[in-house]
C-alpha cells in the first residue's frame, strides 16, 4: 500500500523542491499543506504517515505542529526540513519528538539518506 506523505511548508517553491526530492520508485501518495493548521488537519485525517515539516510558517509553526502531534498522540513520523539550523532549533525539535532534522535546501540525495537511515522508506 502506498505510504501517505505530507509536505508542510508555506513556500510553494519549497514544497515543489521537497516533492522533487522524494526518491523515485518509492510507492507513495504525496499531500501538501501550506501552514501548521492545515498540516495538523491532514495528519489527523491520516494523510501524514511521513511528514516533511518546515519550522517557520504562519498560523501555526513547525514547533506547534510537533506539540500537537505529541499531545494528540497522532501517528506521524516527522522529518523537520528547516532553514533555521541553529543548534538550539535542532535540539528543540528533537526534544519535541521529531525523528530527524534536515538542513534546507533539500535534494534527492539528502532525502534518500535520511529515509534510509531511519528505515522509513520501503521499496515497492
Amino acid at each position: 500500500m502506498a505510504t501517505n506523505i505530507l509536505i508542510c511548508d508555506d513556500s510553494s517553491f519549497a514544497r515543489k523542491q521537497m516533492a522533487r526530492a522524494i526518491p523515485t520508485g518509492w510507492d507513495v501518495e504525496v499531500h501538501f499543506a501550506t501552514d501548521g493548521v492545515e498540516g495538523v488537519q491532514a495528519i489527523r485525517e491520516g494523510r501524514g504517515e511521513v511528514v516533511f515539516l518546515d519550522l517557520t510558517m504562519p498560523n501555526m509553526d513547525g514547533y506547534g505542529v510537533l506539540e500537537t502531534i505529541r499531545k494528540e498522540d497522532l501517528p506521524a513520523m516527522v522529518i523537520v526540513v528547516s532553514g533555521d539550523i541553529q543548534p538550539d532549533a535542532q535540539e528543540r525539535v528533537m526534544g519535541l519528538g521529531a525523528m530527524a532534522f534536515v538542513k534546507k535546501p533539500i535534494d534527492a540525495a539528502k532525502a534518500e539518506a535520511v529515509l534510509t537511515e531511519y528505515g522509513i522508506m520501503t521499496r515497492a
Binding site: 517553491f13 523542491q17 517557520t56 532553514g83 533555521d84 541553529q86 532549533a89
Partner: protein, 205 residues
Amino acid sequence: MTTPPIVTLSDDQRDCYQELTNVAMGQAADRLARLLDSYVVLPIPKVNLIEISDLRMAIEGAQEEDAVSAVCQGFIGSGIAGEALMLFNDTSFTDLARLTNYPGELTHQAQLEILMDVSSLLIGACIQGIGEQLEIHFNQGHPVVLGQHCNVNDILNVSNQKWRRTLAIEIHYTMEAVNVDCDLLLLFTEDSVLRLNHVIDFLLD
C-alpha cells in the same frame, strides 16, 4: 542607451526569493548564534520592489548622530550585482561587546570593530547562501561604514544610477535575551533583477 524594462515580480517569484533567503539567512543566523552563543530569532524575510524614497528613509532612520550604525557591501557574480546594507536600529553595543568578548571601554573604535565583525558574518553568509542555491559565485567588495561623516544624500545621489524601483530583500534579525535589533537589506540593480528573475524562473520550472 535603452531604458531597461520595468522590474516586475510575480507571486511565484516572490515566494521563491523568500525561500532562498530563508535558507541563506538560516545559515547566517547559525553562524551568528555560534559567534555570540545566543539564539537568533528568525523572521520570514520580506521581498519587495522598493522605491528609492523608501530606501532613503530606511537609511536616515539608522543614522543617529555620532553613532556608527550602518555598513554596506557590494557584491557581484555572473553579471548580477547588488549591495548589502546592514542597519543597526536599536542595538545595544554594550550587549554586543559583551557577547563578542570585546574587552575594555566601548570607544568609537571598538564599536567599529564590532560592527564590522557582525556585519561581515551576516552579509557574507547571506550572500554566499543565496549564491550557492543559485549556483552563482558572488565576489564581495570591501565593506564601507556609513557613519557620522556620511550624508545620506551623498550615498544615494552620488551613485549615478537613475533607478526608481528595484528588488529589495529585507531581513530583520533580533536576538533572544539581548538587545540586538538589526536589518539586513539586499538590494539588486534593476538589470540584475531581470537576470535573477530568469534564474529563478528556471528553478520554478
